[in-house]
Subunit: 280 residues, 2 copies
């Protein structure tokens, strides 16, 4: 039972309404300050230059390392970047995302099988497992669990974040910039810092729970109705945010419909293999 | 600034000592009840039969959906399993992990590109992107970010969890049990419930921060010393927990050293491809 659980807040229904719009579930369930923090997440794309508080990075890392990790393998690493030239180069790889340069510290989350390989080399033992798709997937998933804990920790300190998948536009160049060995690859970046004034924005609505959560067996009979309703929610959200007018389903098709939308990432498997993951 | 942040607790140094042993960083940084919750995580492998509190699952799902998702694609789904026969079958796939049967609800996290394919089909549009390794990776990572938020939410409610990577021992059989369409695959399971008496155990020590976090450039000069010290921490932890006496580096090599240690997961790429992900 946590300290914060006793802090009942009046924000439960408001948090659900912000996250789901008209499709919000009822606010009858349990609620506490932790849930309030989790539901209030927004990705932020403009930062003040102020550094993290002293010891803040260590708190984020402690949270990250406290996440579960498959068989306690800990097959991820983190490289922090504050160097302006390096951040500029990384921003360029990401198609000119200025928030990478703005944020005081840019975190690069590394799927890292190189450490296991070094342990094997020191013991004179083969490490056959690191060649497989399964083991790469473990490293990517465990890096994600860790990064999400770091994100929650950051937001608990009044900091903001945004994940940068566009590090995968050119993982070889990213690896070169931070000196990664073979068997290590940045799976995504994470900007961390204090949001610029007005940059926090509104909580983004998500699909209704009934569209993504199924009981015992996959599937929802009325998916088409729910997706149409969500298109309406997102159109209203975009209008409020001054963003381009498009439906959510239209954006999904724009992003996944063509290979041209993948910005080089259609070659990711070959690139990852060249970085020392056979992906067998 | 969260409600809980003002709750300064005396537990900061204790939490770091539990997580890192002798290698704990100094407790000079910021601290709050959220960080306390994150650092107190333990994977739990024995559960009471009591169900989740009413509305609890909806709170976990709301937290999960509040995690970031690449381009707002939301390419994951969740299938909840409470059926005893189905849980028994899933426990068997996982090599007889009894906690899957014990926990009141077992969550199956699905990398789900089938929804995007259905959106394309409804629009008469091709969805070329779903065939690629990159897009599978996005789905797996986004499922992990969501699941980690659900884990934090669960623990905030006094519930416990354990991730079950062993769903990947036989993803085709798992898919069959819950009726997944092509282009959808369970990447891992998550037991959720109240820990059985005494089952919470001790916080597991992790590698020192200096062994996994690097600044500007990858690598630590004194890695060998840090790994040896961690071997000592884990040996002491295992002795306190009555677990088999082995070093951490020894366990890494036991798990990754040979293909035999992979329990069928060495075939994962072919299995995932057969489930409708070309992994191009």
């Amino acid at each position: 039972m946590s300290i914060a659980e006793s802090l009942s807040t009046p924000s439960h229904a408001a948090a659900l309404a912000a996250r789901y719009g008209a499709a919000a579930p009822s606010a009858e369930g349990p609620w506490n300050a932790h849930l309030d923090l989790l539901l209030s997440h927004r990705s932020v794309r403009a930062y003040r230059p102020d550094p993290l508080p002293a010891g803040g990075l260590e708190s984020l890392v402690a949270a990250a390392q406290s996440a579960a990790t498959s068989s306690n393998l800990q097959v991820w690493s983190l490289v922090t970047v504050t160097d302006l030239g390096k951040k500029a180069a990384l921003a360029e790889i990401a198609g000119g995302q200025k928030h990478i340069e703005q944020c005081p510290v840019f975190l690069l989350w590394v799927a890292d099988l190189a450490r296991s390989d070094r342990i094997g080399a020191a013991a004179g033992a083969e490490v056959a497992g690191t060649a497989y798709f399964e083991t790469f997937l473990v490293a990517a998933i465990d890096a994600a669990l860790a990064a999400q804990n770091a994100t929650v920790a950051a937001e608990s300190l009044g900091l903001s974040t945004v994940y940068i998948g566009a590090m995968r536009n050119d993982p070889a160049r990213v690896a070169e910039l931070i000196g990664l060995p073979a068997g290590a690859m940045v799976v995504f970046g994470l900007c961390v810092g204090y949001a610029a004034a007005g940059a926090e924005g509104e909580v983004k609505p998500r699909l209704p729970q009934e569209a993504v959560v199924f009981h015992e067996t996959y599937g929802a009979a009325d998916e088409n109705r729910m997706l149409a309703a969500y298109d309406g929610e997102m159109a209203a959200f975009s209008a409020r945010q001054g963003m381009a007018d498009d439906t959510w389903t239209g954006r999904v098709l724009a992003r996944l419909g063509s290979v041209a939308g993948m910005k080089g990432r259609e070659r990711l498997k070959e690139i990852v293999q060249a970085l020392g993951f056979p992906i067998r």
